[in-house]
């Protein structure tokens, strides 16, 4: 069965590129365009992995991450942060909340993001 990835990201252009790219690699991508929807979908769809942006409408990424960890249904889902924010404090805070990786969008290629996802799902 195809692994499910929840992509919480407000940029529809990125939703499209990632949807296309990860779809070709045999993943099922569920998209959420804001924090609240992301949180709801995480509980309803039980994805195998969450790709999370930090600057989001309705609820900020760090807040989403906190809520995910508080909910017993979602607390064990691996989360990879994919963002444009290069901020040491945010990095520390999200690491404390147990993320698997912090990827800065401008510094990573799709291929590298894919490798990270594959690496996480194998474990």
């Amino acid at each position: 069965m195809a692994k499910k990835i929840l992509f919480i990201e407000d940029e529809s252009a990125l939703q499209k590129t990632f949807g296309d790219f990860l779809g070709k690699e045999g993943f099922e991508l569920i998209s959420a365009l804001d924090g609240e929807t992301g949180l709801k979908l995480a509980e309803k769809e039980a994805p195998d992995l969450i790709l999370l942006d930090l600057i989001l409408p309705k609820m900020e990424g760090v807040e989403v991450l906190k809520k995910l960890r508080e909910n017993p249904k979602t607390k064990d889902i691996p989360v990879i942060v994919l963002t444009n924010v290069e901020d040491f404090e945010k990095l520390e805070k999200t690491l404390e909340l147990g993320i698997k990786a912090y990827l800065v969008k401008t510094d990573f290629t799709l291929e590298e993001v894919l490798q990270k996802i594959k690496g996480e799902l194998k474990e």
């Binding site: 990125l14 590129t17 296309d20 924010v85 969008k105 401008t106 290629t109 291929e111």
Partner: protein
Amino acid sequence: MLFKECKKYHLPLYWCPSFIFFILGLIIIFSILASYFIANKIISNPLIVALICIFLACFLLILSYFVTKTFEALAESNRIKSEFISIASHQLRTPISNLKFTLEILMSGKKGKIEPEQVEYFRILKENTIRLKELTADLLLVSKIESGEFKLQKEKFDIRELTENLVRNFIPFAKAHNVEIKCYFEENLPKIFGDKEKIKQVIETLLDNAIKYSKKGKSLVEIKICKKPKEIYFEIKDEGIGIPQKDQKHVFEKFFRASNVSKGDIAGTGLGLFIAKSIVERSGGKINLKSEEGKGTTISFTLPVS
């Protein structure tokens, strides 16, 4: 907090306007008292002297208050500028990363084959996306340097290994410019205790400049690393176009580009050397430049050893 500017602008206490103002006030009060007692001994009516003193002191205090206010307004405008750069470059990164990912998909050929005559145009697109990305990264770094948020990590590392790896990455770029890179490393160099990534960026900038500004035809870039008491000395020498004498004292200023390149077609932002200098100096080292127009440039820097 009384000296809140110190925190806001990351200034030491003695640079803080309200602290200077406070000291000034103390000095004035003390001088009034002193002049009153001195006048008391010499003149029959010391009260007039004291009144004149008080009047002068009030005038001085008001004046100095406005002077400090002006400086504060200046500092504030500088801070707003840095903040603006920081926000702008964060915002810019979103479309840049969208561009980058989209290009990656298109260039991978997964969305249809690219025609041979399109390849060059895709290459230009990609190159310019990378340039945009680097420019915003540099702008962000500059705003961090200016707002005092810039922090260096500390770790032990081998500068020779770092340089050798970098030189290896630069070989294709050097070949394209018909430049040969020669390295001279002293044996048993001690380890450096500093921010490896940032020092890497410094060497990258210097190497990039040395190759980019080489003259047409075959030319040579020499890198030398040796040890000096308590520090490491790094030198990079090129046979490039050089920097005109009148521009040399400005090359480490931000957005400055020498007059012989600013009109030319060599891409650059004028931020590289400003960032390099900031990194070297904050790491406890010094950076130096020697250049002769038409002959070449030598840039050297030192770094403290662990």
